[in-house]
Structures are given as structure tokens and as C-alpha cells.
Amino acid sequence: MAKIQLNGKYINLKKNISISQLLKKYKLNERKIAIELNKEIISKQKYNKTILKDKDNVEIVYFIGGG
């Protein structure tokens, strides 16, 4: 079990899942987002291998309308 912070909200994960699995859980397409794990950008090739741990801080961002 891991408690992570995802986009500022605390989330409990039943087990230690990978970033790819986290994206699946939230129905997010990896081609439309970018991820920071503990303030470091994780490249898309590493989503599969990167396992989230307790107290990790994850930020998922995408493009929205802006000037």
C-alpha cells in the first residue's frame, strides 16, 4: 500500500503500481500528458518501469486553452 500525492491530492494506492498503471486507472492517454515525479520529469519510455512508492509526489499536466 502506498499513499501518494497526485496533483495536490492524497491518493491511496492498494499496491505499488507503475506510472503506466496509474495512467490507466485515471483513463489518461500518455501522448497527451507529461509527468513529474518528485519534481523531476519522467520521460514516457520510463512510465512502465517507474513504480510509485509511499509519499511520492506526482504531477500530471496537459494542455488547456490559453493565450
Binding site: 497526485l6 496533483n7 495536490g8 491530492k9 485515471y26 483513463k27 489518461l28 501522448r31 497527451k32 500528458i33 507529461a34 509527468i35 513529474e36 520529469i41 520521460s43 514516457k44 504531477e59 500530471i60 499536466v61 496537459y62 494542455f63 488547456i64 486553452g65 490559453g66 493565450g67
Partner: protein, 257 residues
Amino acid sequence: MKKDIFKIANKKLNSRLIVGTGKYKNFKETADAIKSSGADMVTVAVRRVNILDKKKPVLMDYLNPKKYLYLPNTAGCFNSNEALRTLRLAREIGGWKLVKLEVLGDKKTLYPDMEETVKSTKILVKEGFKVLVYCTDDPIYAKKLEDIGASAIMPLASPIGSGLGIQNKINISIIIKQSKVPVIIDAGIGTPSDATIAMEMGCEAVLVNSAIANAKKPILMAKAFKNAVISGREGYLAGRMKKSLLGYPSSPIDGLI
């Protein structure tokens, strides 16, 4: 006549009107207005995904990034670190290297913080970004930005979202004259005629968001801006007549009855 091509950091663009994608009623209106504007480059912002709403529509579903060139922007960043973080993330989303840097100095005026802007530009250029830089209409800073490798200089016409048009034509003219990289009027355009004036002065392009999105009929206004930018550009290329303080008749005097 040689074909008039607009190039920015080696990217060829069909339209000299760049449009923002903010402030629209919904994504459908955003997409319709952008289509109507004829723009092929659009600015976008980087924000947190709303993880609580899995069905929330995504901008990319309405504006195909293969069809429109996304220009990630750092709107809302007030220092170099925030801006750098935003653009590095933007690059990671889909490999965007062409970016718009905007480091604000004050929440009221939304004027750029030029010290932080120069600092960020240097770092981004080093990291391989092609940076279009939002800046004050100060010719000295504009030159500085060009010297450190900015791909385009984007002076404000007036404060962001103010719709006040070009307030300092003299400075903008000086910047256009001295710059070897494209000069693009960024903020403050309020009406199509403001865009025409900027283009007639010799700007390479204009960036418009609020003036279209906040119009009563944004889709019609987008078309008006498309025509205004084309008119201004053609007027600039054609070269204006000389001004005179006195009148000169348009009809010949000879043969007057």
C-alpha cells in the same frame, strides 16, 4: 513578385495571425473560432489534469496538434523557475521545442518581468528550445533578447487582455527596424484595425486571444482578424504613399472646363 512566406525558427506558417485558445465558452467554440481565423499556430497553456473528472474533454481532442502547431505558453508564471518547469513539461508532452516565454512581473498590469525573462531565455536557448519571447516595448531589451538567441520578439501593444491597441508606436517601430528576428505584437490588440496597424507597421505577425474570445460573436471576429492581418500585411508590402500637409488633386488640372 516573390512569395511572401512567414517563417519562424525555420517553421513555415501560412497565416500571420497566431491565436490564443483561452477564454472561449467551450472547446467547440474554440475550435470553430480558430478554424474561422485561418491561423495555423495556436498558443496553449500547461495545467494540472483534473483527476477527479475522468470524462472531462481534452483540448487536443478538439484541436488536432497535427493540424495546428501548438505553441506552449508560460502564462501565469511569475518567475524563471516556474516558466522553465512549465516549458520543460510542455516539451515532454509531445516534443514541442517551439515555445512562448512569458514571465509576468505584476498581477495587476501583467507586465513582463524583463530580468526574469532574459534569465529564462538564456537557459531555454541553451536547452535547445526555440523561444518566442513576450516582452516590454523597450528597444534595448528587445535587442538583448535577440542577442541571446530569442527566435522572435513579442512586444506588448498594451497590457494583456486590455484591448487598448498599440500604445507606443514609436517604440514598436524602432524594435521592428532594428530586429533581424520576427517581431510579433503579442498582448493588447482589441480590434481588427489594431492588428492591421501592427501589420502595416511591419510586424511579421500578431497574436490575438481576448479580442476574439471576448467578442460578442467570436467566430465572426476571428474571420475579421484573418482579413485584417492579410490587409495590413499587403498594405505593408505595397508601401504606403507619402504624407503631405497640403492637398493634391487626384484629377488632372489640364483640360478643365
